[in-house]
């Protein structure tokens, strides 16, 4: 398998090929090379500007206005920070934020544990690799909303698979999707299933970079499998685990599809996430000003998490085990 190159991309610029990096441009040839570079980057820059940067600027701008599409007669007056002040006092906003945080707290470590387990199993020497590889890829390739639908069917009260297994084992069937606590649990299980396989693939790539000789040496010294796991695997895997955790955290902040498909946010608003509340505020209540303020908050939270990730990958490039 190819060595992942995320670390190297930054490396390349600073160490592997210094000639590319420094250098005041002097000769005509260099200038044309630079011009060509800009030309090649231009389409990407234009598209990013149109589809990402302009909309984000627009979003932040709109968040200072009151835009009620239900009452066009009111116009779109400037309201300063009122939308943000309103969010601070909006109970439903805090509920949604709390649920989002709760999903993150449950599913990020949950997906890590399951993903690490799957990665360790998938790292064993198989004769045929495809069933295992496909077993990891299929949950990744499945649209989130399909995973939500499938798990909704699993957790169905009467004909669902989960309650059937529970009754066969002698337990009472549970009202998974109509009890707020159980619904949160069911959604978390679905999210963990859906996201753990991608995590496993990333951790598997990390596992495959650990030299076999380390284990052989430990074996000679009489170390047990558990000691080998704690003293070799975990430390060597730490950078990969860290990267996988940040990815998962950032996507957890944005959770939408799976609760949308499983409960629609119900019962009441007990499983509603921040992303779902933003969606409802704008497209159902047509309150674009307030929705923009909420979406701006979401954007800021995501970017704070992302900056942590960026700092880590740039600082950590070239560390053993990271790539």
């Amino acid at each position: 398998m190819r060595r992942p190159a995320r670390g190297r991309l930054f490396d390349h610029a600073t160490t592997a090929n210094p000639a590319l990096n420094d250098a005041p441009v002097s000769t005509g040839k260099d200038l044309s090379e630079r011009a060509l570079g800009f030309l090649l980057l231009m389409p990407a820059a234009l598209l990013l500007g149109l589809i990402v940067f302009y909309p984000i600027a627009n979003l932040v701008y709109d968040s200072f206005f009151s835009i009620l599409l239900t009452q066009p007669g009111l116009g779109e007056p400037f309201v300063g920070l009122d939308n943000y002040a309103r969010a601070m006092e909006d109970e439903r906003f805090w509920h949604a934020t709390g649920h989002t945080a709760l999903y993150a707290i449950i599913t990020v470590p949950g997906a890590l544990v399951v993903g690490l387990g799957l990665a360790l199993l998938a790292n064993l020497p198989f004769k045929r690799k495809w069933p295992v590889r496909l077993g990891l890829l299929l949950p990744w390739a499945l649209p989130l909303v399909f995973a939500g639908l499938i798990f909704r069917w699993f957790f169905e009260y009467k004909q669902g698979f989960v309650n059937d297994v529970m009754t066969r084992l002698g337990f009472e069937p549970l009202a998974w999707l109509t009890d707020p606590k159980l619904a949160t649990l069911a959604i978390s299980i679905a999210i963990i299933w859906k996201t753990s396989s991608f995590m496993a693939l990333m951790l598997l790539a990390g596992l495959q970079t650990i030299p076999k000789s380390l284990y052989e040496a430990a074996e000679v010294d009489g170390a047990t499998k558990w000691q080998q796991f704690r003293e070799i695997t975990l430390p060597m895997l730490r950078p990969a685990i860290f990267v996988a955790l940040i990815f998962r955290t950032i996507t957890a902040i944005q959770t939408f599809d799976i609760p949308y498909a499983m409960t629609g946010g119900g019962p009441g608003d007990s499983t509603e996430t921040l992303a779902m509340y933003i969606h409802k505020t704008t497209l159902d209540f047509l309150d674009f000003g307030y929705g923009s303020a909420l979406a701006t908050l979401m954007f800021v939270i995501s970017m704070v998490a992302t900056s942590g990730y960026l700092r880590y990958t740039r600082r950590g490039s070239g560390r053993p085990g990271e790539d």
């Binding site: 190819r2 069933p131 496909l134």
Partner: protein, 278 residues
């Protein structure tokens, strides 16, 4: 004793394979079983696992009750055209970033990584407004443009990681032999970079095929719905016709599963090289 160890090892390996495969395949298998059941068998209690009398009626109904074929076509058009656009633009950017002297390279790379992490929900509202102003709602372009751009960071990073493994000397040799830089790009770099381009294309295609939030927002007309949204139209206000939904799900899952199965090694390589989307 010595003979026992390999045997035990073999058992562990088998156990591992079964756990990983069951975890990955079981939900899809359960949906497949459900899709072959009749409504009456579904209502039976205790529930059956393997269908008693498999029927294809649900599939027939799935195609007639909603324009499932149309959803398939919409998803296919949107995913392929956005992939094409994404790969084209990303390939140019990746080439510039790996082979040319670009000021602020690291900054550009960081911006790309950050864009890959942008919350879609924050983009949804202003993108909806933008597409409405451009009159693009309920057209393929309303999804093609965002999908192409949203997959661009991943594709650029994946291709960059492939491009920089191509020795610069090869390109230089071609240029000495009289190729222009663009000529060298197409005669030397592109053929060698084809696996990277292909890998990036698969990732972009899967991302576009799977996207839900924007598809839900931009396309309100049923005939323009893509699969991920179209599948949710089978449910009534209170009723969930599970065999019907399952049949539609299977139809929607099969194309992407075949793609993944055919190119699994590339997908795994691309995911770990780009490592940007969960």
């Amino acid at each position: 004793m010595t003979a026992l160890i390999p045997l035990r090892r073999k058992t562990v390996v088998w156990f591992a394979a079964i756990v990983v495969a069951v975890n990955g395949f079981f939900p899809a298998l359960w949906i497949l079983f459900t899709s072959l059941k009749t409504e009456t068998e579904l209502m039976r209690y205790p529930i059956t696992y393997v269908p008693d009398a498999p029927t294809l009626a649900n599939y027939q109904q799935a195609f007639t009750e909603q324009p499932l074929l149309r959803f398939l076509w919409n998803s296919f058009v949107v995913a392929s055209l956005s992939t094409l656009l994404c790969v084209l633009v990303s390939a140019l950017a990746a080439y510039a970033l790996t082979r040319l002297r670009i000021p602020k390279r690291n900054l550009i790379m960081s911006v790309l990584l950050a864009v890959a992490m942008f919350p879609l929900i924050s983009l949804m509202v202003p993108l909806f407004k933008l597409m409405r102003e451009l009159g693009l709602l309920n057209t393929y372009l309303a999804l093609i443009l965002p999908y192409a751009v949203l997959s661009m960071p991943v594709c650029t990073l994946v291709m960059a990681s492939f491009f920089q493994d191509i020795p610069p000397d090869l390109e230089a040799a071609a240029m000495i032999d009289g190729c222009s830089r663009v000529g060298a790009l197409f005669r030397v770099v592109v053929p060698l970079a084809a696996p990277g381009v292909f890998t990036a294309a698969i990732l972009a295609f899967v991302n576009a095929w799977d996207e839900f939030l924007l598809a839900l927002t931009m396309m309100s007309r049923v005939s323009m719905r893509t699969l991920s949204v179209g599948i949710t139209l089978y449910q009534g206000e209170f009723a969930f016709p599970w065999p019907l939904i399952s049949a539609a799900l299977i139809v929607a899952i099969v194309p992407i599963s075949i793609l993944i199965a055919l190119f699994q090694e590339r997908v795994v390589g691309g995911l770990t090289a780009g490592g940007v989307k969960g």
